[in-house]
């Protein structure tokens, strides 16, 4: 990965309650890429300025 972390990290209180909007499955927080990863939907949701963007149309599809 060549991406550098962008902006501030997610507030830990949000990490406790956020789930994937499509599958309602759990999310993994990738601190380096500043992304929230939903294995069940195979999507990575971006975090911008500390704001998780939980919109499937803004998410990156996980390959492989």
């Amino acid at each position: 990965m060549t991406e550098t972390p962008i902006g501030s990290p997610v507030d830990p209180r949000l990490l406790e309650i956020l789930v994937c909007p499509l599958t309602k499955g759990p999310l993994e927080y990738d601190r380096a890429a500043n992304e929230l990863i939903s294995r069940s939907a195979r999507l990575a949701y971006p975090v911008r300025d500390g704001i998780p963007i939980m919109l499937p149309e803004e998410a990156r599809a996980l390959d492989g």
Partner: protein, 297 residues
């Protein structure tokens, strides 16, 4: 399961809110007035709330909740609108695909923010699931009668100009629909009532500017996508009813309260479970029977 009807173009709803984010200060007073009327309902309960979700509060609702000492997460379909909240507890999320785990909050507040949702029953069910047992939903929705003057003026003006009319103001629910919506979504003790807010404009074009600043312009899926005649809006707005020197527009909103089912909530008894007959109670209190008609022998 059949898909809900597509009434609103959600991409356009988001675009309107993105565009409105830098302008929303223009309508902050109206939004705050509506939010305060909604949050007044919190004074009717002795419950204390610890973690709230603000849905689509446009930078106005979350600070009011935090001023009451409630930690508040804010969520908006528009990332730009979510960014108005500087607390670090903002999320961009879709009310139709809510990104929160079950039983996350003990209070959900949606001040004038659920009326661009296509599947309102579905959104309410998701909000109920995001609530802990005995958590409270407070929501306001524009109800039938909102912008009725504008709807009539636009229709008249468009018929005059184009010989026909296209949908320009959203369909709004009636009060009785609101209470049954809550019930259908599984809320206990559902209540819906109506509040009116009358807006007066010296320059009627300010109404159009305010709607744009609130992100409330036409996002109907069936909207006319052709160019709008330039004279339509001025012509319609000039025809708005006058109150003295100024033009009037009514914001009529339904206030919805409902509780996520929980133990210890008041419930109706099972029919037939009473141990005392009403007749025996009345016979035991002859004083109270004075005004009753004589019982047949």
């Amino acid at each position: 399961m059949s898909a809900p009807p597509v009434i609103f173009d959600r991409i356009v709803v988001r675009r309107h809110r993105d565009r409105a984010a830098p302008l929303v200060g223009r309508v902050e007073d109206v939004l705050r007035d509506c939010a305060e009327r909604l949050l007044d309902r919190l004074d009717d309960t002795t419950r204390r709330f610890t973690l709230a979700l603000d849905v689509g509060g446009r930078g106005v609702v979350a600070p009011l909740l935090r001023a009451r000492g409630i930690v508040t997460v804010t969520c908006d379909l528009s990332p730009a609108m979510a960014r108005l909240d500087g607390s670090g507890l903002a999320v961009a999320g879709d009310e139709e695909f809510l990104p929160f785990a079950p039983a996350s909050f003990d209070l959900v507040v949606a001040s004038l923010s659920l009326h661009w949702v296509n599947d309102l029953p579905g959104a309410l069910i998701q909000l109920r699931r995001a609530l802990r047992p005995d958590g409270l939903l407070l929501a306001s929705l524009p109800a039938l009668g909102t912008l009725a003057e504008l709807r009539a003026a636009l229709t008249d003006a468009e018929i005059g100009l184009a010989g026909g009319a296209s949908p320009r103001v959203s369909p709004f629910p009636e009060l009785r629909d609101c209470a049954s919506l809550l019930q259908r979504a599984g809320f206990a003790l559902p209540v819906a009532d109506i509040e009116d807010l009358r807006l007066l404009y010296a320059d009627p074009m300010d109404l159009a500017r305010d709607l744009r600043a609130a992100g409330e312009t036409n996002a109907l899926a069936l909207r006319d996508r052709g160019p709008t005649p330039a004279s339509l809006l001025p012509r319609a707005l000039a025809a708005l009813p006058r109150a003295g020197e100024r033009h009037a527009a009514t914001l009529r909103f339904a206030v919805l309260t409902g509780w996520a089912p929980g133990p210890g909530q008041p419930k109706a008894l099972r029919p037939g479970s009473a141990a005392t007959s009403l007749a025996s109670v009345l016979e035991d209190q002859p004083d109270r029977n004075r005004n009753l008609p004589a019982r047949p022998a």
